[in-house]
Amino acid sequence: MDFQAIINGILLFVLLLNLFILGTSRLGTCIKMVSLQGALLALLPVLMHGTPYHALILSASALLLKGALIPWLLFRAIREVRIRREITPRIGFIATLLLGALTTAAAFIFSGQLPLLPEHQHSLIIPGSLATLCAGALLLITRSTAITQVLGYLMFENGIFIFGMLFIKAMPLMIEAGVLLDMLVAIFVMGIVMNHINREFSSINTEQLSQLKE
């Protein structure tokens, strides 16, 4: 099938974007790349399942939210807190990049071991989704600014979204819509929290938020 090749192409590009995001320190670029990733993934439902109304709704809403609304909110947030770069990652960029490559390889090996349906055996969907999940988690663990944390959650959601493609017929639209809505609300909240952290500590470095550990 033609579409299969396109889907695999998109997923490959998504994997490359993962690595790119892990390796860059510019927040603006990161946001752009994550939203590009989201927008590309929004094409998947239509490519995989044709144009029933609920694949269309899903595609449209994902494109709107991840490609437009969320990046707009995030850009507004970094403009307000005047921050451009991730300066003090816990683990360096090169090391993160290498870890990202390793987790991607692990994702491919792991999904090779899984007892999958024959039609999913050679698709990139499972390894792509696992690799994106891992990259999101890496971003969450290694970066310290609140904004990259948000980006980490977004990538995490992208990974779940890819995985969800396998069940789109089984999974009710409600659940996907719920996940998307959750994301939007989470971004809103994070934006507000970031503003408050910034105003209070004149930094959005979350490492300073450890006084409540008792």
Binding site: Q113, I141, S210, K213
Partner: protein
């Protein structure tokens, strides 16, 4: 069953309504109280209806998303516990209206009534739950709502401490219950109680493991001997009607759990019963010895709950022991006594806690040695407290006598029919139980004598006033029930014998117990006794008009005052010195008079719970010292926590998927 649902809905709905009306303390109080009263009344009606219907009823809604089934099952055993739950809910809800009104600040009504109604509903759900997970959910709601009720007066440091102790104890118990139900479900393949019948076929080691887990888990809630440590702190801390509800019925849900567990497991070997009755008799002796040394009236009552729970466990243990050695008749007698004592204790301990609440309400102190002379100032409350004390001392014609009589009868029969060490054991238990009875008499004659008789020892006690009728009526109702059960034990025995039949299947002797000759004659004798007492009291009243009032003769001293009267500590001292071992005696610190012209001297007595200070405190301190090394894991950094979650998820995923 439908009526029962209406009652539960009233309780839960009323609780939430009370919370929603929190902005107005008057409205939330009305909502909470009336829903509590309505829930109690409808619940009692449901119980009567279900008893009439006879057969057990079930109800189930599967809830696959949460992985549990909301399964309810009302049988004789559940009904046996439901009735006192609703009765005490009703009594305590009425009582609380005036009691809370005086003691506390506004704004807390909403929380109080919310948790009160939730506690009542969750207790009912615990006894009718028929699915392990659903049971645990109800159990946990019960534990948490009672925790919030105990810490009602949270501004007080002591109350907060008692609350934490209770919370920790109840959760430690729940851990064992989780293990118990998970093991059961693992063996049976389902959490539904219906499937638990498969437990009968387990090997004995597994049966004993399950028995041990349940005994610890449920025993913690019930206040079984070494696990009772939370009880003497929690009851004084809680408002009195909450103590009444908790001591009267909430701790009984622990006994319910053990009973329910016994219906699932294969018959226990004799030593299983022996463990239970040994813990029971030790608990009874320990509890009452501590109760006799307390000067805080509610603490004394709380320790007396430990004692009564001990007696109930003694009955259960003897019954299991007897059925294991092939004496079903004795088993039935002891079990009947234990079951009856559950109801009786709910009634008279409820009455006594409410009575103590009224005394505290009037004198603003819990200290026995500051009360005094209250019978003249609060005649109705005083008489009710005296009646409750008579009942708890197991004196005829009140109900406590009937249940203890059955346990004595079982023990004596065991001494008669068996020989050798078992007969000796039975006789020893009789002696110990009699010793417990004697100490109960000392404890409660002390409580009545010091608090109600004599002269007031503080100005508040001197200006005490009779309690409001909303506080007196619930106490009077409980007292009437005590008297009724004492005069016509055959009335309740029919219900009890059905439960005993369920617990000791195959004996079919339970029904015969109720129709035995001694019982009906006991009812008649008790009535006769009551008539005699009433006549004597009437005669006294007629003559009382001629009695002259004079000051107390002070042995020639000119300035007699109340500080020369017996104190609560002094009254019990002789008995404690001569009856108790050194470790149970209260610690006394004396600064004796010195020299020819002595200055002020003083004496302080404190009866501390040894199990708590010598065993649990060092144990937990030791564990805490070891556990502190794990503090390094708590980095305080979000990233690290996310990493933990990630690693745990990845490991679990690998664990689940890779063996495939």
């Amino acid at each position: 069953m439908d009526i029962l649902f209406v009652s539960l809905a009233l309780l839960v709905g009323g609780g939430f309504l009370s919370l929603a009306l929190g902005w107005s303390s008057k409205l939330s109080r009305l909502a909470g109280m009336w829903s509590g009263v309505a829930g109690g009344v409808v619940g009692l009606w449901a119980c009567i209806d279900l008893v009439r219907a006879g057969a057990s009823q079930t109800f189930a809604i599967p809830w696959p998303t949460a992985g549990i089934t909301i399964a309810l099952h009302v049988d004789t055993l559940a009904l046996f516990f439901l009735a006192p739950i609703f009765l005490l809910t009703l009594a305590c809800a009425v009582y609380a209206t005036s009691y809370l009104h005086a003691t506390t600040r506004g704004g807390q009504y909403a929380y109080h009534w919310f948790f009160f109604n939730l506690l009542a509903a969750s207790m009912a759900l615990v006894v009718i739950a028929a699915n392990g997970l659903f049971f645990l959910v109800a159990w946990e709601i019960m534990a948490l709502s009672s925790f919030f009720l105990v810490t009602y007066d949270y501004a007080n440091e002591e109350v907060r401490r008692a609350g934490w102790l209770y919370l920790i104890a109840t959760h430690c118990g729940t851990v064992f219950l989780f293990m118990f139900f998970l093991l059961c479900a693992g063996q049976c393949g389902s959490f539904d109680f219906v499937a638990f019948t498969a437990l009968k076929t387990l090997p004995q080691t597994m049966t004993m493991l399950l028995f041990g887990l349940a005994l610890i888990g449920f025993g913690t809630k019930a206040g079984l001997f070494p696990l009772h440590v939370w009880l003497p702190d929690a009851h004084p801390a809680a408002p009195s009607h909450v103590s009444a509800l908790m001591s009267g019925v909430m701790i009984k849900t622990g006994i319910y759990g053990i009973m329910r567990m016994l219906t699932w497991l294969a018959p226990l070997p004799a030593w299983g019963g022996a463990v239970i009755f040994t813990l029971g008799i030790i608990g009874a002796l320990f509890g009452i010895a501590m109760a006799a040394g307390q000067t805080d009236i509610k603490r004394s009552l709380a320790f007396s709950s430990v004692e009564n729970i001990g007696i109930i466990f003694l009955g259960i243990g003897v019954s299991l022991f007897a059925s294991a050695i092939g004496q079903p008749a004795i088993a039935v007698l002891a079990m009947t006594g234990a079951m009856l004592h559950i109801w009786n204790h709910a009634l008279f301990k409820g009455l006594l806690f409410l009575g103590a609440g009224s005394l505290i309400h009037a004198t603003t102190t819990r200290e026995l040695s500051l009360m005094g002379g209250l019978l003249r100032r609060m005649p109705i409350t005083g008489s009710l407290v005296i009646a409750g004390s008579l009942a708890i001392c197991a004196l005829p014609p009140l109900n406590g006598f009937v249940s203890e009589w059955f346990i004595y009868l079982g023990l004596l029969k065991m001494g008669q029919v068996s020989s050798g060490s078992i007969a000796l054991l039975a006789m020893l238990l009789v002696v110990f139980l009699a010793l417990v009875g004697g100490l109960v008499l000392i404890t409660f004659s002390r409580l009545v004598g010091i608090a109600l008789l004599g002269e007031p020892r503080c100005p508040e006690a001197a200006s005490a006033h009779e309690a409001h009728w909303t506080m007196l009526t619930p106490m009077a109702v409980l007292m009437a029930c005590c008297l009724l059960f004492g005069l016509y034990p055959a009335l309740v025995l029919r219900t009890v014998s059905r439960v005993v039949d369920l617990l000791l299947p195959g004996s079919h002797l339970a029904a015969a117990v109720g129709q035995g000759e001694p019982l009906s004659s006991m009812g008649r004798l008790a009535t006769l006794l009551l008539v005699c007492i009433t006549t004597l009291v009437m005669l006294r009243w007629q003559r009382a008009a001629k009695v002259r009032r004079m000051p107390t003769w002070g042995c020639g001293f000119p300035l007699v005052n109340t500080r020369m009267a017996y104190t609560a500590g002094g009254y019990a001292e002789l008995a404690q010195r001569s009856l108790l071992c050194v470790c149970l005696q209260p610690k006394v610190a004396i600064a004796p008079p010195v020299g020819l012209f002595p200055q002020a001297s003083r004496l302080t007595m404190a009866a501390h719970d040894l199990m708590f200070s010598r065993f649990f405190q060092p144990l937990f301190r030791h564990v805490a010292d070891r556990a502190i090394t794990c503090r390094g894991l708590q980095a305080g950094l979000l990233h690290i926590y996310i990493l933990y979650i990630f690693i745990a998820t990845a490991l679990l995923l690998g664990l689940v998927l890779l063996p495939l």
